[in-house]
């Protein structure tokens, strides 16, 4: 992370927990840049996270009020805090397993209630912290520690799920789209109501390794090549869209 962002980091905590090549460290920087560009006061912000790799993005690193909660329950915790103190600018940062598997019910109800919060879901397509098991966003056929013959089930389209549940701002960007991601996070933070960003991020150690996706740099290049905008996607056939990730405001 660049020096100018260091003021947002909790003093005394120098080492991050990310594996080599993890995209979540990129996301961490992008969130802080968005906050910096909006000149938000960190003393008025509350970061709520759950359990898993992505839950470490704000906690303990961000120098603000941070609540590192139970697995899956982030949005419920955040709801209580926001209802009591509406002045808090609440951001939830957690992973796909946390928000969409064990916490899926709270995710859709947070969106349905249109709770005024920004939810950033780092989607690395598997449970990274526990060693790379299948989760609700793992692509069909993908190899994981609990799907050795390939994932037999379809993944969630998180953005469509949350949009259908009533979120007022929904966007998907990959960590390989830093400028678009910063713009998206800023917009989400400026949105009144439930704003959701699916941040697609590579997990070279747990997911990439098992699916032979190459080194971290190769995974990033692959991610870049697979991202298409919604406008572009409309011009592509179903066959061409296979394995593509549609990004942008949805």
């Amino acid at each position: 992370m660049v020096r100018e962002m260091e003021k947002y980091l909790r003093p005394g905590i120098g080492v991050t927990t990310y594996c080599p090549g993890c995209g979540e460290a990129i996301l961490q920087g992008l969130i802080l840049r968005a906050i910096d560009e909006l000149k938000l006061n960190m003393d008025e912000m509350l970061f709520v996270s759950g359990i898993g790799c992505a839950a470490w993005i704000p906690s303990p690193y961000f120098y603000a009020d941070t609540l590192h909660t139970l697995h899956g329950r982030t949005i419920a915790f955040a709801t209580g805090a926001k209802m009591v103190n509406p002045k808090l600018k609440v951001m939830v940062v957690s992973g796909d397993g946390d928000l969409a598997d064990i916490g899926g019910n709270h995710l859709i109800h947070g969106a349905r209630r249109n709770m005024d919060m920004t939810v950033i879901c780092a989607n690395n397509q598997n449970y990274g912290m526990t060693g790379g098991q299948v989760c609700a966003t793992t692509p069909k056929g993908a190899l994981t520690m609990t799907t050795h013959g390939g994932n037999p089930f379809r993944p969630f389209d998180l953005c469509r799920l949350v949009k259908a549940a009533g979120a007022v701002y929904v966007a998907r960007y990959a960590v390989t789209q830093p400028m678009a991601m910063i713009r998206g996070i800023k917009k989400a933070l400026q949105t009144e109501g439930f704003a959701f960003i699916e941040a697609v991020t590579p997990c070279p150690v747990q997911f990439g390794r098992r699916n032979r996706l190459g080194k971290p740099a190769e995974m990033l290049k692959d991610l870049m090549s697979r991202c298409v905008s919604e406008e572009k996607a409309e011009t592509l056939s179903a066959e061409e869209l296979k394995d593509k990730i549609i990004t942008g405001e949805l």
Partner: protein, 380 residues
């Protein structure tokens, strides 16, 4: 902060409430700022009343998507500065256990009212039971201490709900009001005084929020937005909340302090009533609604000259072990009637050096005074 006397929110006087309604009014009297819950028999009426009354007093009521979310949102609300409460019954209480452990470990004050019904599982959903007493003690994983109160009347549901908030704020711990369907749905007259004694959590800017110099201390508690840049985690942490999960000493010290902050104040926390104990040869140790039947039964038997007394526990956790030990040394037998298979009787046996006779009834009905009289006649 700390102890204070406040005006009653309800105008002083007599009221005719159900137990569930009394819980709602007790919460309002205690200045509860946030209540979240999920409908469940026999606790629903408290939510219904609060959904109206909280609007009048400017507090936040949320009906959440389940009991897990209810308990978790209370923790968020508590750290945002509000006194927080959730209300449920057995199945919901089971769902809340993980959040209870989190509240214990992060020293989050909150009140949980469990209007107990007959279990296990869905059980007899509309019938009474007292089967959650051990769950209140051991329901979440790991070693911890909480406080559990056992009211026997609608008046006590009101008073004990206020007391539960005071204890939660004083000790930064989840406090359980172990109501029962029989008291939750009972309608009685209660008296509301002009003033109410309250305790509000201590704040001390700049002080560590998760540690004290004393081995049994209760740290001050800042709120989100105070600029304290709080670091809160359910992992083992030092006094500033910094995660320290591989340090044997830190975990040992933290878990020990969370025990000692409650156990070393047992004298202050534990409340009980004794009746006819001076010359008693048998003591009936009881709690909750069953204590009403027990006292009635013992008064009848006193008329027959039977030397029986009643020890009514108003606090179940921390357990009144010393009191039981002392009582046991002065009577020949202790009789424990309860609407479960002997949960408190087992605890009594840990301390009493005399015979302990357990009477467990799980019919979904209250224990009739006649039943207690029959049992006691066999003992005396």
């Amino acid at each position: 902060m700390g102890k204070l006397t406040a005006k009653s929110v309800l105008p002083p006087g007599s009221y005719y409430f159900s137990g569930d309604e009394a819980v709602a009014e007790g919460a309002i009297a205690a200045r509860c700022g946030y209540c979240a819950g999920y409908p469940i028999t026999p606790a629903t009426e408290t939510l219904e009343r609060l959904s109206v009354r909280f609007g009048e007093v400017g507090a936040v009521f949320m009906q959440m998507e389940d009991e897990i979310a209810s308990a978790c949102s209370c923790i968020g609300a508590s750290w945002a500065g509000a006194k927080a409460m959730t209300i449920t019954s057995g199945p919901g209480f089971s769902l809340m256990q993980e959040a209870i452990g989190y509240a214990v470990f992060t020293e989050t004050p909150m009140v949980l009212v469990d209007a107990q019904r007959s279990g296990p599982s869905t059980g007899q959903a509309t019938r009474v039971g007292s089967g959650d007493i051990m769950q209140a003690k051991w329901g979440s994983h790991g070693d911890y201490q909480t406080i559990a109160l056992s009211p026997w009347s609608v008046q006590e549901l009101y008073d004990q709900t206020i007391n539960a908030f005071n204890l939660a704020e004083r000790f930064r711990v989840p406090v359980f009001v172990m109501a029962e369907e029989a008291t939750a749905h009972l309608h009685e007259r209660i008296e509301v005084g002009a003033d109410v004694e309250l305790f509000n959590r201590e704040k001390k800017p700049g002080a560590p929020p998760f540690g004290t110099e004393e081995a049994d201390g209760v740290p001050p508690m800042p709120a989100f937005g105070d600029g304290e840049k709080l670091l809160i985690t359910g992992s083992t942490h030092d006094e500033w909340g910094v995660r320290k999960i591989t340090h044997p000493d830190i975990h040992q010290r933290l878990v020990t302090r969370l025990h000692q902050k409650i156990l070393n104040r047992s004298q202050e926390i534990i409340k009980y009533d004794g009746y006819y104990l001076d010359d008693a040869q048998v003591a009936v140790v009881c709690y909750g609604f069953t204590a009403r039947s027990a006292l009635f039964a013992v008064e009848q038997l006193r008329g027959e000259g039977k030397k029986i007394g009643v020890l009514r526990l108003k606090t179940l956790w921390p357990f009144a072990g010393e009191l039981i030990k002392d009582t046991g040394s002065r009577v020949g037998k202790i009789f424990v009637p309860e609407m479960n298979m002997g949960q408190v009787a087992g605890e009594v046996r840990k301390y009493a050096l005399c015979d302990v006779v357990s009477y467990g009834q799980v019919t979904g009905e209250i224990i009739h005074p006649r039943t207690i009289m029959e049992q006691l006649r066999r003992l005396v």
